[in-house]
């Protein structure tokens, strides 16, 4: 699956996107665990519920199953308009 990072999140990850191919990461909660392990500086933002998640361009709040072809986006609160 493809993970995309936006705005200041990508300043923490130093990465705009990455592919993750692990059969163990099969839901959003496991993906959250993966990213805070890989990027520990994201943990405090996750804990404070600052991070937003979208799966295939739709906002997701609860844990959902993930498929290998999914595109997951991780980003902070928006500021358009």
């Amino acid at each position: 699956m493809k993970i995309k990072y936006f705005a200041w999140i990508k300043e923490i990850t130093n990465n705009e996107e990455e592919d993750i191919n692990s059969i163990k990461i099969n839901n959003l909660d496991k993906l959250k665990d993966f990213i805070i392990t890989k990027y520990p500086d994201l943990k405090k933002h996750l804990d404070k519920e600052i991070l937003r998640f979208a799966v295939n361009q739709e906002y997701v709040v609860k844990n959902i199953d993930l498929n290998p072809n999914d595109e997951i986006a991780v980003f902070p609160p928006v500021s358009g308009g």
């Binding site: 936006f6 979208a54 361009q57 906002y59 902070p76 609160p77 928006v78 500021s79 358009g80 308009g81």
Partner: protein, 138 residues
């Protein structure tokens, strides 16, 4: 119609192109957002507007569909810019076309409220020597 673009646009021309399709449109409400010179007591040099484009198109389509269900609309236009924008540049145009004013007023407000809250754009505001990622508060 939905457009996400780096380039500036002429609001009047963009609205007229759609208006000419609907001789029965008696009301158009539009909102234009601009880059301000001062924000949070800091002098702004420019902003960089980042977008998750694929999601923005999808979310704009969804919100326009919701607006069609709630109000009697003939058409909707959203143009949202991205990339580097200087002070006084246009950021966004929303225009709603209807027979009567109430539908266009209310739907335009509804779309802008959504856009400020959920549309996947992020403003990075540049000052003299620093920059700051913003969060929408209203």
């Amino acid at each position: 119609m939905i457009k996400i673009q780096k380039e500036d646009f002429n609001s009047e021309e963009e609205i007229k192109k759609i208006k000419d399709l609907y001789l029965n449109a008696g009301a158009i409400t539009s909102f234009t957002g601009y880059v301000r010179e001062n924000n949070n007591n800091k002098k702004v040099q420019s902003i960089y507007l980042e977008v998750y484009e694929q999601m923005a198109y999808k979310q704009f389509k969804k919100i326009i569909s919701e607006a069609y269900l709630k109000w009697n609309l003939l058409d909707c236009l959203i143009i949202h810019r991205c990339g580097k924008l200087n002070v006084n540049s246009k950021i966004v145009l929303v225009a709603c076309f209807s027979k009567h004013r109430k539908d266009s007023f209310e739907s335009c407000n509804f779309i802008m409220d959504y856009l400020k809250k959920d549309a996947p754009f992020w403003k990075n505001e540049f000052y003299d020597k620093k920059y700051e990622w913003l969060v929408n508060s209203n």
